[in-house]
């Protein structure tokens, strides 16, 4: 099997092309740093594997996602590369192209976004690029799939892609150094192209340096670099060796672009400029963002989500539940089976499934934000606030993704340049209220705040963000004592998200929720139901004598000061650690009602408006779910930080709920 790697600058459409060339689907969006991991897919024509790498500007990585790509090129040996370049940003993109050509593998150049470039009045001549670089150049529009058939047909025979014969002359001094380093390298087996290794070493690429120092003594080669650098300095050619190499490349690229590009009719980004004038306005920008968020929540929870959810609830509680009951009776199922299926499974899983409409609409909104290019602007708007809290605006992209699910959000933090900022973002992520916590708020908001559902739910999200900011200040001051953060964000041109992409990306996010409903929520529901059905006194006991009641009763006294010291509330918290959705499933089972109105009735008797707020805040904060804990461990590579993230959230949740309930009581609320 041959393998081909997709390489290119961030946000140039590598993953879009990957999705059209392979039968898999990966996450796409309009900002730099969507792909943070190496993804492998099979080419549609069965000719081999395609590897999608995170975007990089050069082979010298700054952030962790870039490290993944650079590492791949050094350690693995793809048979060929597809270098995707953004035709509207050719100069910047070609800097990486030259380094890839020096790498020496057979390479295809995918000239992407020619539609965007043409619309801006930039015309690139692929023949000139082909002739000067000596590789095949294919014009593409990866978003619509135009040109992908040609790519696929070239990839049919990867071995037929000609080897690259590109050689840039770096001037007498540097060439001498390259030759001497190549001499030193000649003994070492299994290295990529030696000239490329030499050049990367001269550019002080840390990955190459690490690779070489494992195999040999690098002292002599570094001395060659140093002497070359001082020669360049004494001839006043450049201040440093990396600078010299870069300037030689830039000179070549400029001459190439003059030949290959016609920019005589170039136009500014009209739409983007006009939108930015309003959306990133120094006074209007932030209020507009808050307004958009409010409308988004209003639409998700009140205008569209709630009516759809009611319809679904009517179906599950009515025809489905009754139908299953009748069917079970007609086949003569035992009382146990009947109760397990109707009360346990339909009650537990169905109780969560009724929130599918709200969750999918929320995912649709997030997908729209991701694909439009607005996400990067939010970073810009939030940066000064975030800076005061010791973090940078870029952390806001993961935070917004975290409203969907914390797991991909923590992965998204990889594109943040500074390790300290990345760590802070990861640790604070569990405070972003994910879609799994949503059913709890929706349930309680419907009972206690029917007139202000969107506001009640939104306030939980705001509470999470506020605590994240406050703790961020605290953590960055006391746990990380190093320098201040840096901030730079690329602002891609706005674009209207395509319907197909939106649908696909919403489905991919929502699929996980449905899968959970069929696995962990189902399993959780069955176990919880069994624990309510059985007790120390045998099977089919009264609910108050069941194992679940005994177990919840152990926790209940601890929760008494928070206002919900019942075994029912207590027993939802432990399964909630597996998946937050199970909190609602458990309630459905405990209160023995398969439909929402019945459950709402029960809850209104056990909780008060005040204790319901306290409970919602507790669910918001109390612990990252199992999957999130797993990804925190993976990304921080430290049990200490993982346990810390669980510990601080538990303490925070307890204090916040305690304050809400006790202060509320003092103020005479109930």
């Amino acid at each position: 099997m041959s393998s081909v790697a997709l390489v290119g600058n961030p946000n140039t459409g590598k993953t879009s092309l990957f999705n059209t060339l392979t039968s898999s689907y990966e996450y796409v969006g309009n900002w730099a740093g969507v792909t943070v991991e190496k993804k492998v897919g099979s080419l549609k024509n069965g000719a081999g594997k395609l590897i999608d790498l995170p975007g990089i500007y050069s082979l010298h990585p700054l952030s962790r996602d870039e490290g993944v790509a650079a590492q791949y090129l050094v350690e693995e040996t793809p048979e060929a590369l597809i270098n995707i370049v953004d035709a509207s940003q050719l100069e910047r993109n070609l800097l990486l192209t030259l380094q890839l050509l020096e790498y020496g593998k057979p390479t295809l150049l995918g000239l992407n976004m020619i539609d965007v470039a043409n619309a801006r009045g930039i015309h690139v001549n692929p023949e000139v690029l082909e002739a000067r670089l000596g590789i095949t150049v294919l014009p593409l529009v990866a978003r619509t799939g135009k040109g992908s058939a040609q790519v696929l047909s070239v990839l049919q025979h990867t071995s037929a892609i000609p080897a690259v014969n590109f050689r840039l002359d770096y001037g007498e001094l540097a060439e001498e150094a390259i030759a001497s380093i190549e001499q030193e390298l000649s003994e070492i087996q299994g290295l990529p192209n030696h000239r490329w290794v030499a050049l990367q070493l001269m550019e002080q690429n840390p990955i190459i340096l690490e690779l070489l120092s494992k195999r040999m003594d690098t002292g002599r080669m570094l001395a060659i670099c140093d002497s070359c650098q001082s020669n360049l300095q004494s001839r006043k050619l450049a201040l440093t060796l990396p600078q010299w190499i870069r300037s030689v490349r830039m000179d070549y690229i400029r001459s190439l672009c003059r030949e290959a590009m016609d920019t005589s009719s170039i136009k500014p980004h009209n739409l983007t400029e006009r939108l930015d004038a309003v959306l990133t306005h120094r006074y209007l920008g932030l209020p507009l963002f808050i307004f958009f968020m409010y409308v988004m929540f209003k639409a998700t929870f009140e205008w569209i989500g709630a009516p759809l959810s009611d319809l679904l609830d009517g179906f599950i509680a009515g025809p489905l539940s009754d139908g299953a009951g009748t069917l079970l009776e007609s086949i003569g199922a035992s009382g146990f089976t009947h109760a397990l299926i109707v009360d346990g499974i339909i009650g537990g899983v169905g109780g969560v499934l009724v929130f599918v409409p709200q969750i999918f609409i929320l995912f649709l909104m997030i997908s729209f934000l991701e694909d439009s290019g607005y996400m990067a602007r939010v970073c810009l708007l939030m940066d000064s606030t975030m800076e005061r809290m010791g973090l940078n605006g870029k952390a806001f992209i993961p935070f917004i993704i975290g409203f969907g699910c914390n797991v991909p959000a923590i992965m998204a933090a990889r594109s943040i340049e500074q390790p300290k900022d990345r760590m802070l973002t990861t640790l604070l992520m569990p405070l972003m209220s994910c879609s799994a916590r949503l059913p709890v708020y929706l349930l309680f908001a419907a009972v206690f705040f029917p007139q202000r559902q969107a506001a009640a739910v939104l306030s939980m999200y705001v509470l999470g963000v506020v605590f994240a900011l406050v703790l961020c200040k605290l953590f960055s001051k006391h746990l990380f004592k190093n320098d201040s953060s840096v901030f730079i964000v690329e602002l891609p041109p706005y674009r209207m998200p395509q319907f197909k992409t939106l649908g696909r990306s919403t489905w991919e996010k929502g699929k996980g929720f449905l899968r959970k409903a069929g696995t962990i929520i189902l399993a959780g529901s069955v176990i919880i139901w069994l624990m309510t059905y059985a007790g120390p006194g045998g099977l089919d006991v009264a609910m108050d004598d069941s194992f679940l009641a005994k177990f919840g009763g152990l926790i209940a006294p601890l929760l008494e000061p928070l206002g919900f010291g019942t075994w029912q509330a207590g027993s939802t918290l432990v399964p909630g650690f597996l998946a937050k959705e199970v909190v609602v499933s458990t309630m459905n089972i405990i209160y023995h009602v398969p439909d929402a109105p019945g459950l709402e009735n029960q809850i209104a008797q056990v909780f008060t408006p005040l204790s319901s707020i306290s409970f919602m805040a507790f669910i918001l904060l109390y612990i990252p779910c199992l999957a999130t804990v797993g990804v925190i461990k993976k990304e921080t590579a430290s049990w200490k930080w993982t346990l810390f993230s669980m510990g601080y959230s538990l303490v925070l949740a307890y204090i916040v709920s305690l304050v809400i309930f006790q202060v509320g009581r003092l103020l005479g609320w109930s």
Partner: protein, 80 residues
Amino acid sequence: MASTSCSLLRLQPGSTCSILKIEGMNPILRRRLADLGVSEGVVVRLKGRGPFLGPVTLECNGQLFAIRRKEASRIEVNVS
């Protein structure tokens, strides 16, 4: 033609200038700017300023990006 040099921050939004030197900037940011093609001699345009003394938006070779004011003040430019 007389040209004057000043900090990038002193420019009016919408005006264009060429970079004279970049000094004392955080090395990570410096590298990232170089990746985006921003270095000495390159023409940039100041597009706007963010809220609450927030970042400034710059354009270079048709690419828009934003950096903080403190960092932008390290960029000395030539206005012609």
